[in-house]
Structures are given as C-alpha cells and as structure tokens.
C-alpha cells in the first residue's frame, strides 16, 4: 500500500470560474420564475397593477437599501482582507450578516402582514379574487420566498467565512472563499434589484 500523497492544487482562477458557473445556474433558476412572471403579467396586466397596490413601497425600498448597503460592506470586506486588514474585514462581514438578518426580519413582517390579511396561496380570500391577483400573490410568495432562502444561505456562508477569517483560513494570501461567498451575495442582491420594481413599483 502506498500512502496517498497529499494532493492539494490550489487554483485561484479555477475556483472563481467554478463559482461563476454556479452563479449562472442560479440565474437560470430564477429565470424560470421570471418567465412565469413576465407571461402572467402580460396576460393579466391590470390585475397585477391592482395587486401590487397591496405592497408597501416603503418596506420594499428599505429592504432594497439594506441589501445594497450589505453588498457594499461585503465588497469592502474583501478589499480589507486583500490589504491584510483582518479585523476590519471581519467587521465588514459581520455588518453584512446583520444587514442580511435585517432584510429577513423586514421580509418576515411583510409576509406576516399579508398572511394576516388573508393573502396567501389557497386562502379563501385570495381564491375569491381575480385570476391575475391569485397569480401575483403566488409569484410574490414563491419568488421572494426562494430569494429569502438564498439570503439565508448567503448569510450562513458569510458567518462561515467570518470564523475562517478569524482563524486565518481566509487571509491576505488566500481569500478565494471569501471572494466566492461575496459573489454569491452580490448575485442575491442583483436578483432583488429586479424583484423590487417588479413587485412593488407597478401600481
């Protein structure tokens, strides 16, 4: 028996390529839902406009600002680690997680409000409404829901890199994990950038 030599090839560009390819799959995953959205919106334009009136633009806008800001802190944390400023990078990462959590809390209250008012899939209030509104709320829950799951996963990943930064696994000489996590986080942000006008601003 031969002991297996420790093969560890660290390929920075390769890892980043892998992440980008993975992001492509995320884009296509969401594009399936955007397809449904665009078609049902075309068919039920009026209903969609009316249904969007139930949304709180303020909450949506606040969430947009939160997510945009979190994106900035994320990218700053990468800049910091590149310069070797470990603590600063950790502070930025923590801030990103906090913003992510704030986004989710905000979303939770938004959902709760709608559900209390009876707008949830298959509720008798909703079924009594026009087809377009049923579809609008279906899409609203599914799209923001799946997006929310992504925010949750992203925040989890950042927690992970936070500890890795503390332990020095992520460092000025090897920060690809942090950079890839950042890419994921930004993509989640990009998707929200589209969700916001499509659900909140079409009244």
């Amino acid at each position: 028996m031969v002991e297996l030599a420790h093969i560890e090839h660290r390929d920075y560009t390769g890892a980043k390529l892998g992440m980008w390819l993975f992001l492509f799959t995320e884009i296509l995953l969401f594009s399936g839902m955007f397809l449904l959205y665009s078609i049902y919106r075309t068919v039920h334009t009026e209903d969609f406009h009316e249904a969007a009136g139930e949304m709180s633009v303020v909450l949506g806008a606040v969430n947009t600002v939160i997510l945009l800001t979190s994106s900035m802190t994320m990218v700053l944390s990468i800049s910091a680690i590149k310069r070797g400023e470990r603590v600063r990078s950790m502070i930025y990462q923590a801030a990103t997680v906090v913003f992510g959590a704030a986004f989710l809390v905000n979303k939770f209250f938004e959902w709760r409000e709608h559900i209390l008012r009876g707008f949830y899939p298959n509720s008798s209030e909703l079924l009594a409404m026009s087809h377009g509104k049923i579809l609008y709320f279906g899409l609203y829950y599914v799209m923001t829901g799946i997006h929310g799951v992504h925010v949750l996963i992203g925040a989890g990943l950042i927690c992970l890199t936070f500890f890795q930064t503390r332990k020095g696994v992520v460092s000025a000489s090897d920060y690809i994990k942090l950079e890839n996590t950042g890419l994921f986080w930004h993509l989640v942000d990009v998707i929200w950038i589209y969700l916001f006008p499509l659900f909140y601003l079409i009244t």
């Binding site: 028996m1 031969v2 002991e3 297996l4 030599a5 093969i7 090839h9 390929d11 560009t13 390769g14 390529l17 892998g18 390819l21 993975f22 492509f24 799959t25 995320e26 296509l28 995953l29 969401f30 594009s31 399936g32 839902m33 397809l35 449904l36 078609i39 049902y40 068919v43 039920h44 899939p121 298959n122 079924l127 026009s130 087809h131 377009g132 049923i134 579809l135 279906g138 899409l139 829950y141 599914v142 799946i146």
Partner: protein
C-alpha cells in the same frame, strides 16, 4: 510501475474508501455501478411492460400498475441511467486522464454529486412504497394531472430535483476541469473529441438543468400550497408548464447523445489506424448541437394548443439541429476511408450506433415536420423514435465505450467472441422490438396505453418477442464483461494502440494518474 488506484489507500479504508473517495476514477466506477443497476431496474420494467402489451386484452396486472411502471421506467432510464450514464461514469473516469490531469477541478464536489445522485435515486424509489403509491404521471409530469393525482409525486419529484442538482454540479466541475487542468501542450485543437463532447454536454447540463429544478420545485409548491401557477381554475396555464419542462428536457436529449457521439469519434480512428476525418467539424458540431438544442423545445408541443406561429418557428429550428448531426455521421463514415480497419467489438458497437442513431434521427425529421407530427404525436411512433436514439444511440455508444475503456478501467480484456455475438443478438432483437413500434405508431396506436384494440395485435407480438431476444443479447454482453473483470486476460497499458493520453499510463492507472505530468506534442489521433 506504480500501484493502481484500486490498491492505493486513501483517507479511509475499505468500502468507505470508495464511498467517500475523491478520486475521479473511483467516482467514475461508482457511477458506473449505480447507473447500470438502475439500467437493469429500468430494463426489468420495460420487459414487464412488454409482457402486458403482448396482445390486446391481456391483464397481468392492473392499469394503475402499468401506469406506474411506465412512469418509473421513463424516470429511471432518463434521469438515473442515460443522463448520468456516459458523462458521469465514463466521463469521470476518462476525461481527466485524457487531459493529463490528476483529478477533476473540484474532487469534493464530484463525490458530493454522486451522493446527491444516489440519494435522489433512493428517494425516487422510496416514492414507490410510501404515500399514495407509485407516481403515475409519465416521466413528463404534465400538469394538471401531476398536481391532482393522489400518488406520491411530490417525493419522486424531489428525488429528481436532487438528481438534477447532481447533474448541474458535475457539469460545472467538468467545465472548470477542461478549462483549467489541461496538460501542457494540450491545446483546444488537440483535445480528444470525447473530451470535446463532454465539454459541450457540460454546458448544456449547466444551463438547462436549473430550469428543470425550478419546474420541479413549482410542482412541489403547487401540490403543497396550491399557488396556482398551473391550475386553470386559478388562472394558471398548463401549457406554460410544458414549455418549462421541455426547455430543460429537449436540451437534455442532447445531454444524452453528445457524449455517445464523442465515444464514437474516439473509437473510429483507433480501430482504423488513421486520423479522424474533419476534426474541427466534429468538435464544432458538438457545440452547435448544444447551442441549437436550446431553440427547439417547442417541437414536443405541436399539438399542445400552443400558438400556430410558435409551431412554425419551432419546426423550422428543429430542422436546423438535424444538420450538425448529419455532419458528424458523414465525417465518421469518411474517417473509415483508406483506413486499416479492424472490426473489434468497440468499433462494431460504434458502427451499430451510427446505423441505429441514423434511423432514430431521421424519424426525428418526421416528428419535426408539422403535417406529420399532428398524426404521430403521442403514438408509438414517438416511442420508437426515442428508443432508437436513446437505446440504439446512446446506450449502444455507451456499450461501445464500455468495451473500449474496459481494459483501462480493470486492466483486463473481455472475450472478443461473446462480445460480438451479443452485438448481433442485441441488434436483431432491438430492431424487432422497436421497428414494430414505428408501424404501430403510424397506424395510430397511442402511447401510454395499458390495453389496445385488437387490430394492433400483430406488431405488438413481434415487439414483445424482440424484447426477449434483446434480453438474451444484453445478458450475454454483461455476463462477458462482468466475468472478465475477475477472470479476463491481463491487458497491457495500451491494448488498442490509442494515441490519446489515457493510454499513456498504466492500466488500471495509479491514483495520481500519471507518474509525471505528460507533455502533449501532437494531435489526439496521430498514430505514426
């Protein structure tokens, strides 16, 4: 000489060393074993279905059972056998070797893919015995039926979702590998055509599978929460589901066939001892098929109620995709010209592939023409078409590759005579089994029928008899292969005299694949 990867101790000993390995060769073999096991499940189901269909009025089991059988047969064959079949097993084993790499780019993700695949498969099988009974929707999961049926669709669909995730990750992994880990000197125009094929396939896996994932998730949400996207009573549009399903599933048929084409492109030069004809054309046509394959999904929906304009557009695009397949066929045949041909089993299976795939592909043209499609859609004509391309095409290509790389995988040779005998029996059985279905289909026998009118008796009987002959052939082939794993003659490192990199190392290869990083100085099919 170094010890082969079978005898190298990894991080874990024994079985765990296989289940948690990160070695692409072991993972390739794991995939081979699992997908072949699923293949036998699917084959058994196919046989059981044919028994029921032997004549009209036959009642071996209930209609509900039959419906579950063909659903399972389709799901197993498509998602558990033929999609992972070539790329994940042969591709995993051979592609990094052909690159001169030590492993794929992300070995851990590679084993994760296998685990997702197995768990997904296990869930799909669990769905048979739990909940409201085995799913009965057909492999297409068309709504609203798949939403209304009381059977265990949700679990099965979730299983397929995981399998899709596995397929996506494999695609991502292979793309990164081919981009980043080519040996020095292995430029893009020296890449073996099998690797080119895997490359094109990986793009399709990467970009199409997520659409399936979301479609399946939507079925689950529809069933669990009643969101209403596909429920006409709530304004949903069932035809949109068909769009989303085929946006994935048409590209998926090219995930199935392109790797098989790659296998054939690698085998032909070796056994005719000459360079492949039209290397660039073959490599480029793989990419073209992958790309155009995106534009034609609507040809499955010519009678679905889709707009007539769409039907015309999709029919047009469908015909475009036939051209690159033709280019491949012509180049393969031209490659034989002035060769020095030895008709060994791999080449025999490869030529069988060309013939059967041509029949399947050419009948695809009949499917794609609008006027004829209205008649044959949803009949046995379609069933015949896709068995010709999938079984006659992909599975024969898979068998060809299995024989070709067998010595590399196991370090032993199979027996030549039974391999050829099996081919002949398979070939005869195959044509009896499936050609009869073309006739049935043109005469109007609908597919997914538990029972049929007596006037369809004749060809159905022939077809069932064909399935038995096919079974005999398969049995001989696999008996020969399995026996040879243990008792075959020792093969040298390069029994066929191949020029691609996988033949430049030991059989079976050592864990690190190559003793030193190989340098590539010539094309993949230069024998002199």
């Amino acid at each position: 000489m170094e010890t082969s990867f079978y005898h190298t101790r990894g991080r874990y000993p024994g079985v765990l060393g296989w289940l948690f390995t990160t070695d692409h060769k072991r993972i390739g073999l794991l995939y081979l074993i699992t997908s072949l096991s699923f293949f036998f499940v699917g084959v058994g189901l196919g046989l059981t279905m044919r028994l029921e269909l032997i004549r009209s009025g036959m009642h071996l089991y209930s209609a509900q059972t039959y419906n579950a059988l063909f659903t399972l047969h389709g799901v197993v064959m498509i998602f558990l056998f033929i999609i992972p079949g070539i790329p994940s097993s042969l591709g995993n084993f051979v592609m990094p070797l052909q690159l001169g790499a030590r492993d794929v780019a992300f070995p851990k993700i590679n084993i994760l893919s296998w685990w997702l695949f197995v768990i997904g498969g296990a869930l799909a099988v669990t769905a048979l015995f739990t909940g409201g009974g085995p799913p009965d929707t057909g492999w297409t999961f068309y709504v609203p039926y798949s939403i209304r049926t009381g059977t265990n669709v949700t679990l099965a669909v979730f299983g397929v979702f995981l399998i899709g995730l596995s397929s996506t990750l494999t695609g991502m992994n292979f793309l990164a590998t081919i981009h980043r880990l080519r040996a020095p000197g292995l430029t893009w125009n020296r890449l073996p055509l099998f690797t080119w094929a895997i490359y094109a396939t990986s793009w399709v896996q990467l970009l199409a599978t997520p659409v399936l994932a979301i479609t399946l998730l939507l079925i689950i949400m529809e069933r669990s929460f009643g969101v209403g996207f596909f429920d006409p009573a709530k304004g949903g549009d069932p035809i949109l589901f068909e769009h989303m399903f085929w946006i994935y599933s048409h590209p998926a048929v090219y995930i199935m066939i392109i790797p098989a084409m790659g296998v054939v492109s690698d085998i032909i030069p070796v056994f005719s001892r000459k360079v492949i004809f039209g290397y660039t054309a073959i490599a480029a046509s793989s990419l073209t098929i992958a790309f155009v394959g995106y534009l034609v999904w609507g040809h499955h929906m010519f009678t679905s109620g889709m707009s007539d304009t769409s039907r015309v557009i999709f029919s047009f695009l469908t015909f475009i995709v036939a051209v690159p397949s033709g280019i491949k066929v012509f180049n393969w045949i031209a490659s034989l010209y002035k060769g020095s041909i030895k008709l060994d089993a791999p080449l025999l299976y490869a030529l069988g592939f060309i013939f059967l795939f041509s029949i399947g592909g050419l009948t695809g043209l009949i499917n794609g023409a609008l006027a004829t499609n209205l008649h044959i859609h949803g009949t046995y004509f379609i069933v015949a078409h896709f068995h010709y391309v999938m079984f006659g095409g992909t599975a024969f290509g898979f068998f060809a590759g299995l024989h070709y790389w067998f010595p590399k995988m196991f370090g032993r040779l199979y027996k030549e005579y039974p391999a050829k005998l099996a081919f002949i029996i398979l070939f005869i059985g195959f044509n009896l089994l499936y050609f009869s279905m073309f006739i049935l289909g043109w005469e109007g026998m609908p597919r997914r029928y538990y029972d049929y009118l007596p006037r369809f008796n004749g060809p159905n009987l022939v077809s069932t008899i064909g399935s038995w002959i096919l079974a005999v052939g398969l049995f001989i082939m696999f008996y020969n292969l399995i026996r040879s794993v243990f008792a075959g003659e020792k093969a040298g490192d390069n029994p066929w005299g191949g020029a691609t990199l996988e033949w430049q190392t030991a059989s079976p290869p050592p864990t690190e694949n190559f003793e030193s990083v190989p340098e590539v100085t010539k094309g993949p099919y230069t024998y002199r």
